[in-house]
Amino acid sequence: MRERVRVLVDGDCRAPLRVYNDYISFFGEVDPAAGTLRSVGEQIAGVALAFRGGRGSTVGSYVIYALKYYGREPSCMLVEEPEPIIITGCIMADIPLFQVRKGFLEEVGSKRAVLVHEKGRDYIELHFE
């Protein structure tokens, strides 16, 4: 499946897709040294993390930067609603960031897929298992 996205921070990405259909406050809800999303207790290191958008603390940018510093960062991120805290964090950490259309997260849901994006393209590819 090919899906058009708005590229906010460009870069290559090939990683398993992990959809979290909620907003994330990186500060508080993410442990940067372990690379886990505390609310669900799951790894976000090395995945294509799709979520609705950011919330909470403005320290979030530093947490995204810290994920990269500890080598526990997602391979790329997809959001429905981009906002400065996440964009800045991704720019600093050089993590590709894409904006997806509303409804995309629900459509994909819990299906297992690998996401592929090549730098310079305005779309992502999803290879379902």
């Binding site: 921070v9 940067p32 919330r55 603390s57 403005t58 320290v59 530093y62 990269k68 964009i87 720019i91």
Partner: protein, 392 residues
């Protein structure tokens, strides 16, 4: 994005790599948000300066900006750090003091005003319509909603970048076209109004659009509690407050209306403590001097705290300097007063069975960290709870 000649020179490295990096963060973020130009800011407020939150990666980033020659180009204040700057708090863990000192040294030498508070509007109340670049989500919400100034919820490094360049991108809430309230939230029940922390959590969790709130309290003490909670649990940067938000700095296009009942906010209140150790907490966001003195009066007339009960109060450094006599007296009664920090950006030295606070923001962050049962009430309720009078 259109850049002036000076801005282009900054981006191209003619003012050094630090200014170029700061400019690039602002321009790239701005472009991602659809900005077509930059604007000058009157005041930058830098969040993300506490070592216990940003750890070594953040420390090294800030230090490198200072060593690279970064200097403030605009009036800049800084958020709380992770140590108590009075040096006497028993509850705030001081073991990161050396690391925090490295961060503070960099911030101060870059020319930032070391206020170490989350209420920068206490030091410099913003003017209506003024462009700001503020981190600290609660302060952002107050600047937009109470003062009628304009700032986006800048991430910590983005506000820092604005401090070092004097600019921010023109998008989001700087554009009047985005300052439109779409949902009318009607607060009728005085019990809801009387628990601004719970109301704020409800607002953050349940309302995504910019709300127009009718019937909330009008005092700044309650409003900053409500706005801090809604900014933490949601991402509200502007909550239009009827009778408070200056006219002309927002518009309305109401498509929905909700009335908040007591039953709606009840789920955010938690459990009233029965037995066990209790930590009462006031000062998230930090207290103005007049708020601190009111709490002081309430505590002094009650005397020494019962065993296994502690009350923690957090205030700006300047309020500590002005009122250290009162702080010392409170300490003799078993009350812990910490300056320039708070438990959200630091660590506590001991654990408690219950956290009782008036702050929805503190509940949002601390209930995850402390694993304590929490109870959210109003200011007097916190004092009553730690003195065993029933939180009421």
């Amino acid at each position: 994005m259109y850049l002036t000649r000076e801005q282009e020179r900054m981006l191209n490295g003619e003012f050094g790599w630090v200014v170029a990096k700061a400019m690039s963060i602002i321009v790239k973020t701005g472009e991602a948000l659809g900005a077509t130009k930059l604007v000058e800011v009157a005041h930058a407020h830098v969040s993300g300066v506490s070592y216990s939150n940003i750890l070594d990666p953040g420390l090294e980033f800030i230090r490198s900006l200072f060593l690279g020659g970064g200097r403030a180009r605009v009036y800049t204040t800084v958020n709380p750090g992770c140590v108590d700057y009075s040096g006497l708090s028993e509850l705030i863990d001081g073991s990161y003091a050396r690391k925090q000192a490295v961060i503070d040294d960099s911030l101060i030498k870059m020319g930032f005003k070391p206020v170490f508070t989350c209420i920068p509007y206490y030091h410099r109340p913003p003017a209506q319509g003024e462009f700001l670049a503020w981190g600290e989500s609660s302060a952002v919400a107050v600047a937009n909603s109470v003062f009628g100034a304009s700032t986006n919820r800048e991430g910590g490094p983005l506000a820092l970048a604005s401090a070092l360049t004097g600019f921010t991108y023109y998008a989001g809430l700087h554009d009047p076209g985005n300052r439109v309230a779409r949902v009318l939230v009607y607060v009728k029940d005085p019990r809801v109004r009387g628990n601004p922390g719970a109301l704020g959590l409800w607002l953050g969790c349940r309302v995504r659009e910019i709300p127009l709130v009718r019937g909330a309290g009008q005092g700044l003490a309650d409003l900053k509690i409500m706005l801090a909670a809604s900014a933490a649990s949601g991402s509200h940067a502007l909550v239009v407050l009827e009778g408070v938000t200056p006219r002309g700095f927002y518009s309305t296009d109401l498509v929905d209306k909700v009335e908040v009942e007591w039953g709606d906010v009840e789920e955010y209140i938690g459990t009233e403590p029965g037995g066990g150790s209790i930590l009462g907490y006031l000062g998230c966001p930090h207290l103005y001097p007049w708020e601190f003195l009111e709490i002081y009066r309430q505590v002094v007339k009650r005397g020494v705290l019962p065993r296994d009960r502690r009350l923690l109060i957090t205030i700006p450094v300047e309020v500590y300097e002005r009122h250290y006599i009162e702080v010392l007296r409170l300490r003799r009664l078993g009350v812990d007063v910490a300056a320039g920090t708070c438990p959200v950006v630091s660590r506590l030295t001991r654990v408690f069975d219950h956290l009782v606070t008036n702050s929805g923001k503190a509940v949002f962050y601390l209930s995850k960290q402390l694993k304590a049962k929490y109870y959210l009430t109003n200011t007097l309720g916190v004092i009553r709870a730690v003195y065993g009078e029933g939180a009421g």
